[in-house]
């Protein structure tokens, strides 16, 4: 088994990228979830991965984030043994209650640029999560991907992963305790903390595929 570690490119316009997408509008939770997004940034060195904030009497923002990784060096016949998304945490808040950070599918319009509309391009099946209490604000947070996440590793191409709050992934009614001008969410370093040992990373352990030998006839000299 070989271990491949991949980091996104900083900024946009290269091969891969990372960044956030947000809906920032005064609206109810259900409308926030269904929003098409109205801001994004793939040049932040650090910032929000996923969070929601309230204003005086409603919800104000919901952030999601996306990460693309060049896994083109993994051949199509390879077998994925494990995959881990690692995000270096810098801050967290649970003023509205606690909900895990989930990894999900991400289907951006481009692999090397995050745009507002990518806000609506995250899946609702969890690929793995980390609980609020377990999320470190001074180290990498390793999220082991489940079978669905492993299946999302793009052998020979670009792997795209999104991050969203548990309440957001669930897609139903708000699961926290609403309060005015509060926030629950997670922050950390993006790849624009350029070329550092704090960048987001995807670690894939895999074996190269091959055809196992089949022995149809075995004759042993001298008997049996």
């Amino acid at each position: 088994m070989t271990t491949l570690t991949v980091y996104p490119d900083a900024g946009s316009g290269s091969t891969t990228c990372d960044g956030y997408m947000a809906a920032s509008e005064h609206q109810i939770w259900a409308n926030m979830l269904a929003d098409s997004g109205n801001s994004s940034d793939d040049n932040d060195s650090s910032g929000v991965f996923c969070t929601t904030k309230t204003d005086q009497d409603d919800f104000w923002t919901l952030y999601r984030s996306g990460f693309t990784f060049d896994t083109s060096s993994i051949s199509g016949g390879a077998t994925i043994d494990s995959a881990t998304l690692s995000l270096y945490g810098t801050a967290k808040l649970n003023e509205l209650g606690s909900t895990p950070l989930h990894v999900a599918s991400f289907n951006p319009s481009l692999n090397n640029d995050i745009v507002n509309a990518d806000f609506a391009q995250l899946g609702s099946t969890t690929f793995g999560n980390i609980a609020y209490a377990a999320y470190s604000t001074s180290a990498y947070n390793d999220i082991t991907l489940n079978a669905s996440g492993e299946a999302a590793i793009n052998k020979g191409g670009i792997t795209r992963l999104g991050v969203r709050l548990g309440w957001d992934l669930d897609g139903g009614s708000f699961g926290g305790s609403w309060d005015a001008e509060k926030e629950t969410g997670y922050s950390g370093y993006y790849a624009d903390q350029t070329g550092t040992t704090n960048d987001p990373k995807l670690v894939v352990v895999y074996g190269e595929g091959g055809i196992a030998p089949h022995i149809h006839h075995l004759k042993m000299a001298g008997g049996l």
Partner: protein, 97 residues
């Protein structure tokens, strides 16, 4: 950063060469390093408290690896420290799996 830029980063870590160090009860040895396309390719052995860590074939590949490390409030270019940090983190991840 384009492929050439990523390859330069990998090359900076290849230049560190074979290196061994001990950190938190892990003895780690990079026995071979070279470029594979734009990637950094290492052969790694790790021992934890007298027991060899199962690293599979011991091949670690890094796409677009970091070459800078935090130094208080600033970042500094330090390929050897970056190499040791990323390899140690990979060893830890493999040891837990």
């Amino acid at each position: 950063m384009d492929a050439n830029g990523r390859a330069k980063k990998s090359a900076a870590l290849v230049a560190v060469g074979s290196v061994g160090w001990t950190v938190n009860d892990y003895s780690i040895l990079v026995t071979n390093s070279r470029l594979e396309g734009e990637m950094l390719r290492l052969k790694v052995i790790a021992i934890h408290k007298g027991v060899r860590v199962d690293l599979g074939d011991g091949i670690f590949l890094y796409q677009n690896p970091p070459t800078m490390v935090p130094d208080g409030p600033i970042l500094r270019e330090d390929p050897e420290s970056a190499l040791k940090q990323i390899v140690y983190e990979t060893v830890l991840l493999r040891a837990r799996s």
